[in-house]
Subunit: 223 residues, 2 copies
Amino acid sequence: MRTLHHQWLDPFSRKVRIALAEKKLAFEMVAENAWEESSDLAALNPACDVPVLVDSNGAVLSDCTAIAEYLDECHLEPPLLGTELLVRAEVRRLVGWFDVKFNRDVTIPLVGEKVFKRQIGIPGGPDSNLLRIGYGAIREHLDYIVWLVERRKWLAGETFSLADITAAAHLSCVDYIGDVPWDAFPQAKDWYARIKSRPSFRPLLSDHLPGIPPPKHYADLDF
Amino acid sequence: MRTLHHQWLDPFSRKVRIALAEKKLAFEMVAENAWEESSDLAALNPACDVPVLVDSNGAVLSDCTAIAEYLDECHLEPPLLGTELLVRAEVRRLVGWFDVKFNRDVTIPLVGEKVFKRQIGIPGGPDSNLLRIGYGAIREHLDYIVWLVERRKWLAGETFSLADITAAAHLSCVDYIGDVPWDAFPQAKDWYARIKSRPSFRPLLSDHLPGIPPPKHYADLDF
């Protein structure tokens, strides 16, 4: 059996959970607190972070991009990176967009301030300046999603791909804390509703962090 | 002819320059100042950053990982990601290590503070606190390179790969400002000397930023 070492509300872990489910690969999950020095993650991954996948053959893999590419190379169906060279480049460009830019502009300022800071035990509550930055930036990123889905069925083209998985993994973390202004971006909401209805995405909608319940619409397919 | 839109001393641009040269693909370079709003980069890449590759077929590619993977898929020889699944996963893990962790811990605190801040025109000089963080972190990363090359010929295994290219792209930027303590890490220095002697790497050693000359050892193969 595969084991995924993950962290709750970590978008990089969520990406791998969705990719495994899209490939119909069974796995167990072990929750880690990557910020704790006593964590035994270091023995699995010198970067001491999640996700780490221990594959059924015993191989230990880390870095969410390396894991997703590995899964796509080992298990060809369904292809998550597309089959044409330029589509694959577009999928990877958008994976980078969400894992670097969206993460820096939105996920860290909002989820980092409201959830991770509290979990780590940093006193003082969220930094209002960072929250303001995150609230502004998410609107620009939703605008970009709208621009893309006005031109394509899915973010990188006509086929569901790792670009959709990556974007939805980040947005789902922000949605868990109720900070996605869906109603102002109906085309982005429609795209996300299509992702929410996929069987691979359903388990994420059941996540419940102790002491931090999600808003009612989080798990609602008709939100 | 291919055109690479790049920025001087940007490790992500350097990575693509080396990858193109390893594949023996001819290209022209256009220097960009990605921080200038008047830059016409936005028309090529909505992320407004470098590198951007305009391929000889007219395709416009951005995100250094997407470009490197595209080049490796279009031009099979020499393979830059390895040919075995687990080696490919290890190459990609290390690419992520240097592009995310090393960049955050070392490149941004040192090259960002000493070069980019000055180029952008941010007053006040380098932040001494960030420099101290960078000086400490580079030693940990060099320790990790030593650990790897004590066990393997190249960073990800027995073959030169995109992991070596990525690590050397970042280190070469820090070396340009004279901040790599090579003499304290002789095995890392030996690995870097092997990279410096590759024809693909030589053009980077001729780079000269106006007003910011490199130290004498920067271009020296026997440093």
